[in-house]
């Protein structure tokens, strides 16, 4: 009897062991998903397919302007170099268009993370694409269609995407300039944009 129990116990243990290791990054980023879509970083949760941008006040006074009800992910372990923006994409209903303004040489990056394994499948930013203005079409794995000629395609392996934006702040007096640029990093659905 004990051998049978050992076999059942052992098989469950090995399967659980594998599933937990395999899904560890997904469980970690689930915290971010909840922070974005359920808790939010200020008054309200962040709707799906929108980019939240850290307010100037939160960057300037990260200790006193943290709201108690919201997620503390914006200030725990955060950097004090860049304005942070973030959002959660659901590409099942169609692609999203990321617009970035001319950053005039300033460091910025928009990181596209696959939330099922915490790896980065694409960047838009100074290193990856340069600092000129541009439009990027973010498509899900099952999307078939024509990429508008003025856009570059970013193919996501999953329909869920964690997007993180960073715009460098040179110093306190540069904060409003940096924030103004970061505000112009925008997401819109393709059909709205394509009809222009």
């Amino acid at each position: 009897m004990i051998l049978e129990d050992l076999l059942i116990f052992g098989s469950v243990m090995i399967v659980a062991w594998f599933l937990f290791i395999y899904n560890w990054p997904r469980m970690l980023l689930y915290v971010y998903k909840r922070a974005i879509l359920v808790k939010g970083f200020g008054e309200d949760p962040i709707p799906i397919n929108t980019l939240y941008l850290e307010p100037q006040k939160l960057f300037a006074e990260p200790i006193t302007s943290q709201s108690a009800s919201s997620s503390n992910l914006a200030t725990v372990g955060a950097n004090h170099d860049t304005l942070l923006s973030g959002g959660w994409l659901d590409l099942r209903k169609g692609p999203q268009v990321l617009h970035v303004p001319d950053m005039k040489g300033r460091y910025y990056s928009v990181q596209f993370t696959n939330p099922s394994n915490n790896t980065v499948f694409a960047y838009v930013g100074k290193r990856a694409t340069g600092t000129e203005a541009g439009d990027y079409l973010i498509t899900g794995p099952n999307w078939k269609g024509q990429v508008p000629s003025a856009m570059k395609q970013i193919s996501s392996p999953k329909n869920s995407v964690l997007v993180l934006g960073r715009v460098l702040v040179e110093n306190n007096s540069d904060l409003s300039t940096a924030h103004h640029l970061a505000e112009q990093i925008r997401l819109t659905p393709l059909n709205q944009k394509g009809s222009i």
Binding site: A16, W24, P25, L28, V76, S109, N117, F121, L164
Partner: protein, 222 residues
């Protein structure tokens, strides 16, 4: 939790899981049922997954002068075990190395936890500030990784914070709770209790990516 607590926790879970398996199936096999087999298998599997990921992370960690980092995280073709190991070290959506490298530390050169009860200096020899094509910064976090309140509202020192070099071109950063007289420009305000340090380098230079660049140690001076 600091790195020492994690080591102890990992060892503890490993021992408990190992003891449980040996005891309940080999030393004192008592009457069992399928429900217990499944439930306990699930829990022990979870415990051993944590232990495996922690141990694998420790194997893959790169230590330089008390700073820890991991090269190669965030890349789409990483294997599942390595991805889990990265998630132990960096608790968030990580960058790939060529976009940004992060180093973390919570101990001084002698292996004692960093604390605001002491003063520390980080000395960059001339020309040895972190090579980059974007920016670098050294950021203070308290024991819970929050920013530390201070009179200057300064949460990091960086390539943009007006660090004043010494006569020989080297740069000293004073990491302490009280402002260092005459060196305020190079002061990174520390909490009164335990703290951690993050070194970030965005668009790191080639010598960082190939491992040639050595991050300087943080030395306790009092």
């Amino acid at each position: 939790m600091n790195s020492k607590t994690f080591s102890i926790l990992t060892a503890l879970i490993a021992v408990v899981c190992g003891y449980f398996i040996i005891n309940s199936f080999f030393l004192n096999p008592t009457s069992r049922n399928v429900r217990n087999d499944v439930l306990q298998g699930f829990l022990i599997g979870f415990g051993l997954a944590f232990v495996t990921a922690q141990i694998y992370a420790r194997i893959k960690i790169t230590k330089i002068n008390g700073w820890t980092t991991m090269f190669g995280c965030g890349e789409p073709d990483n294997g599942f075990l390595f991805r889990a190991a990265c998630a132990q070290v960096f608790l968030g959506p990580i960058n790939v190395p060529k976009e940004a490298m992060y180093w973390k530390r919570d101990v001084d050169g002698a292996g004692h936890l960093l604390s605001g009860k002491h003063d520390y200096v980080m000395h960059f020899p001339a020309g040895q500030l972190p090579p980059n094509n974007a920016f670098w910064s050294l950021t203070m976090g308290d024991s819970r990784n929050h920013f530390v309140p201070n009179s200057l509202n300064r949460y990091n020192v960086s390539d943009r914070s007006g660090l004043v070099p010494n006569a020989d071109g080297s740069v000293d950063i004073y990491i302490q709770n009280a402002a260092p007289t005459g060196h305020e420009s190079n002061w990174l305000p520390a909490s009164t209790g335990k703290f951690i340090l993050w070194l970030r380098v965005y668009m790191p230079g080639q010598t960082i990516l190939n491992g040639e660049y050595k991050v300087p140690p943080v030395v306790k001076v009092s």
